[in-house]
């Protein structure tokens, strides 16, 4: 077996093992996602800015992964400017709301 193919196999196995451990730790609560959508220590409210930020992140990531999956000739696809504007706007809304809520305490 060629050395480059062994390396390829090793890196693939390492990547899969890391992903599996990460998923296991998240699902068993040892890496906690609790509080991801909670706004600070204030009274419980629907944190719209956090929900939209998470939603936009997931949408941008999955859209880009799909583009990579269908990309031809091993070329990395670019991201359309509209997606960048969406992600930037979403980040600004999230950060501004966070800064405002910290300031008002």
């Amino acid at each position: 077996m060629d050395v480059s193919h062994i390396l390829h196999l090793e890196i693939g196995c390492f990547r899969c093992a890391l992903l599996a451990i990460l998923a296991y730790l998240i699902l068993t609560g040892r890496i906690s996602l609790s509080g991801l959508l909670r706004r600070g220590d204030g009274p419980p409210q629907l944190p719209l800015e956090r929900i939209q930020f998470l939603l936009v992140t997931v949408v941008v990531c999955s859209s880009y992964l799909t583009d990579v999956f269908y990309s031809a000739a091993g070329k990395m696809p670019d991201i359309a400017n509209n997606w960048l504007y969406l992600f930037g706007g979403s980040s600004i809304i999230y950060l501004a709301t966070k800064a405002w809520s910290m300031r008002s305490r």
């Binding site: 390396l7 956090r50 960048l84």
Partner: protein, 245 residues
């Protein structure tokens, strides 16, 4: 010449062996908890940080894409060029993380706040050790079901945008999938409160008129999640996967 080629190949195998051992050791140490990544996306007060989470997600997507494309070009050689848009996205993600961290730590009292409930027996009179200790929770915190529902809605949104799903089908899947996640969340909470799923028999009073079976709350939630989840799976299989084949 053949001897040199053989030596180079042997050196390659030795490097492969070393890297395999290194990778296996890292994975083993993480698995055993000796390399602790439990605070990977946590703030100092123990709750998960959205900015860290998105940075992790985007880093993973970009690196996985680069690695995947390098794999495809294994015999063609060279690294793929990273487009400008990807670099901008990565930069925005990093800046968001840094600004969020700066905002959080601009008020350390809030970050080390105590409204998270009892956290690992932290002593209020020991501020120096507080930052380290607050990360250690008294027990595992369950994943917020709302996070999973938002992620599910995001994936369905992409599928609708790409025309893989109709809007009505995506709505149906979002509602049913959301219900499944919600029942699973209730199941987790019930397991924490009441132990694993179980069935109890009791014989009641005279004549056994009140006797019968009693299911634990966790078992009921698990059954509900299983039923709704099966419906989602069947709908997904029949309307998304099979029609394409």
């Amino acid at each position: 010449m053949a001897g040199v080629s053989f030596m180079v190949q042997m050196f390659g195998y030795v490097v492969c062996g070393f890297l395999a051992l290194l990778g296996a050791t890292i994975v083993l140490l993480i698995w055993q908890g000796k390399i602790d990544i439990s605070g990977l996306i946590s703030e100092a007060n123990g709750s998960a940080s959205l900015a860290r989470f998105q940075f992790l997600l985007i880093s993973f997507v970009v690196t996985a894409s680069v690695y995947g494309l390098v794999e495809m070009r294994l015999n063609g050689g060279g690294y793929p060029d990273i487009p400008r848009g990807v670099l901008i996205l990565f930069g925005m993600s990093a800046v968001t993380f840094l600004v969020s961290k700066t905002i959080s730590y601009s008020q350390p009292d809030v970050m080390m706040g105590s409204s998270q409930g009892p956290i690992g027996g932290v002593d209020d009179n020991a501020p120096a050790s507080r930052g380290v200790q607050v990360r250690r929770q008294s027990g595992p915190q369950r994943t917020d079901p709302l996070v999973l529902i938002v992620v599910l809605v995001g994936f369905l949104g992409v599928a609708v945008h790409r025309g893989d799903l109709t809007a009505s089908m995506a709505t149906l899947l979002a509602v049913m999938g959301g219900l499944t996640v919600w029942f699973l969340g209730l199941f987790m909470r019930a397991v924490d409160a009441d132990g694993p799923p179980h069935v109890e028999t009791h014989w009641g009073g005279l004549g056994g008129g009140l006797g019968g079976w009693s299911l634990s709350a966790s078992l009921i939630y698990l059954i509900c999640a299983g039923v709704v989840g099966t419906v989602v799976f069947v709908v997904f299989l029949n309307h998304v996967i099979l029609p394409k084949q």
